[in-house]
Symmetry: C2
């Protein structure tokens, strides 16, 4: 008698975004005449730069020609693309990594979910609260957590690191023992960033405890201020204790195209491994259960990494960041308390009058027809906040903020 993986039963509620979609759809059914304005899911809306789209179109055309057709590539990714990423890290971030320390994936969501599979089933995970739900959910379904505690809005056995107004949304290093520490800077959802002095204690902790930091840099190109960390490997010692995960989704508009990368340095070690072993295990995972990212998407990635490609992508990012300013300033002018939005495409709004996140979601939808993302969906310390996203056409963002300004009863 086959049995299901019963860990799935531990997953609390629906996954955040499908639940938002469900409530929004329900609202639309009852109010078919209303134009809903979405500041919820962080989905890119602006077209790809010509150099990037045409590189992919050209690659598709090359597949039509017997001389230029290509089938399976290396599972770990096109070697030119890995080399180009290695060069970008050196030139832009001052970080030296071999090309084969980069692994090309079909997007960072998969990497964030799969990375814990090379570590022991007994690993204790630590996550920021709030955080991108994938870090916890992937460990719930693989049995690395306990049951969901509805009172605390937490999974048993997971170490939550509160990111609150009190600590400027940057967590303290764990006081007890943990094995895998997920950090995301610039942060989704709070928009908070990291300086070297913030991250050094985490690297020191990881080295001392033989823990591993899983560092998500999906939004790093949205950082505008100087002196912020761009790669965990800018912190001395991180190459021995940290994995970095990056994405073309928000950097280059590849949310639908699907492309990302992970870095597992050869020097990375845990208690029972020698240098190189975890790197080989991750490589083995790629060759054993994955067949590479789409060749067309990888051709697009190479174009993104060209000089003109990087410039063009930066222009789109600047556009989204002007949206972020519109949202942040608009809400601030209404007297609301807002964070983020300066070095990240997310604005972290403190819900007024001590309402819950989901009640505010419903209120915002009903009164202003604007969809936000309830902060509690990102973890217990997200309660009382909601996330607004700067991804959208400027005229729609302007219209949404105007609707909030005119119609929100606070």
């Amino acid at each position: 008698m086959a049995l299901k993986n019963s860990y799935y039963e531990r997953l609390a509620g629906g996954y955040l975004f499908p639940e938002i979609a469900r409530r929004t759809k329900e609202f639309q059914v009852f109010h078919p005449e209303v134009k809903i304005m979405r500041l919820g899911i962080g989905n890119t809306t602006e077209p790809l730069p010509q150099i990037v789209a045409s590189a992919m179109a050209l690659e598709a055309v090359r597949l039509m020609n017997v001389e230029t057709y290509s089938g399976y590539g290396d599972e770990q990714g096109n070697s030119k693309l890995r080399q180009a990423l290695s060069e970008r890290y050196k030139k832009c971030f001052g970080v030296r990594l071999d090309a084969d320390e980069f692994f090309i994936s079909d997007g960072s969501k998969c990497d964030c979910a799969n990375i814990s599979s090379i570590f022991s089933h007994e690993s204790i995970i630590a996550v920021e609260s709030p955080a991108y739900p994938v870090y916890v959910d992937s460990n719930v379904t693989s049995g690395k957590t306990g049951q969901f505690n509805k009172g605390k809005m937490q999974y048993e056995g997971v170490y939550y690191m509160p990111c609150t107004e009190m600590n400027d949304f940057f967590p303290e290093v764990p006081s007890g023992h943990v094995d895998l520490i997920y950090l995301c800077r610039p942060n989704n959802p709070t928009g908070a960033v990291a300086m070297a002095s913030d991250l050094q204690p985490f690297v020191d902790y990881a080295l001392e405890h033989k823990a591993v930091i899983i560092y998500d840099v999906a939004y790093v190109d949205y950082q505008k201020e100087r002196g912020l960390v761009e790669s965990i490997y800018q912190i001395p010692g991180a190459e021995k204790c940290a994995i970095e995960i990056g994405s073309f989704s928000k950097w280059a508009g590849f949310t639908g195209v699907r492309l990302g990368w992970s870095i597992v340095p050869k020097e990375l070690v845990v208690e029972d491994t020698v240098p190189g072993e975890l790197h080989r295990m991750w490589s083995r995972r790629y060759t054993t259960v994955f067949n590479g990212a789409s060749n067309i998407a990888q051709a697009g990635g190479l174009a993104v990494l060209s000089e003109l490609g990087q410039q063009s992508c930066q222009e789109v990012i600047n556009y989204y960041m002007s949206n972020a300013r519109l949202i942040k300033n608009g809400l601030y002018d209404m007297g609301l308390t807002v964070y983020g939005g300066t070095n990240a495409p997310y604005i972290w709004l403190k819900v007024p009058d001590g309402m819950s996140s989901w009640n505010f979601f419903d209120k915002l939808l009903n009164e202003t027809n604007v969809v936000c993302t309830p902060g509690v969906g990102f973890g217990p310390d997200g309660e009382g906040f909601c996330r607004l996203s700067a991804f959208g056409h400027q005229e729609n963002i302007t219209e949404a903020i105007e609707s909030i300004r005119m119609n929100l009863r606070i």
Copy 2:
């Protein structure tokens, strides 16, 4: 102290194809003047039909335009593509499945590896021997098997179903209890197929034991003879006990583009689930840890499913199948014993003189400069065989067979 996932240590040797690549590379280093002819990895070589490649080029161009740009799609796949697959199953195979019972992936290798994650950690798996290595390896790394027994060339705790000359390469139903049964028809590597009378006992077994059949149809479009099973759902009762996994890789030349699908019927149940529950769990897995296949690849998939697309893909398949005939007849004329190659792009060659698969691999490479795939890499009962692949340009296939004919010392 973090620890590694020690199940990785159980993986026997390198993954088959990287090991072939290593030996081939080594040979080339010592014989730089030699032209190596590859009949090893089943990698497509012929260009995409124009209708398919241009649909993808067009989709890339659409991403350059603000009106037609698209970001995240549904994680489970484009609804039009799911609908088109549902219609193909109905029209071509006489199988009725709802569009939302199809899940679009980035290729069947990932689905084959991930599917067991929705079942209990205690599941006992059964595999054909020989079989595509991913079925076993994915269960080794997730701890669903025991140690590798070098003497038996088997993992402890796995039920191997021998596919040999004695049973025409179709296995008996398990005599003991198993939970997840992996079957692949037409078979990789033996090229053997299935009739309804072959599969009905497996479906009966699965229904009786509440086991699940995971049925891989990656090569179904290579079947030429009539009366062969094209989908497991042609067998009465299969919708309650079987999952089917399909691929655009060999059907439409998408080995590099990456696109596949899985079918988890709503009626599928195991011991501790109600109808719909496993379907919802698989859907939950998609939404939680995956972000959809590339939108460009999915546009290509839709073109494949058009009438002209299906015809055009069939022409490429016919080309490969004429290669298969060349290989099969060439080897047969030399007095060698060969199987497969009639309804599948693989020829299963019985190694002469009782040699081992890897010794024959080395002999073939040294004497004829042809690369094959050692049968033992597919499981213990593959020992004494090797797989030859019909994927290649016809002139190269002809040259390889000529070299074998002239140079192989048997």
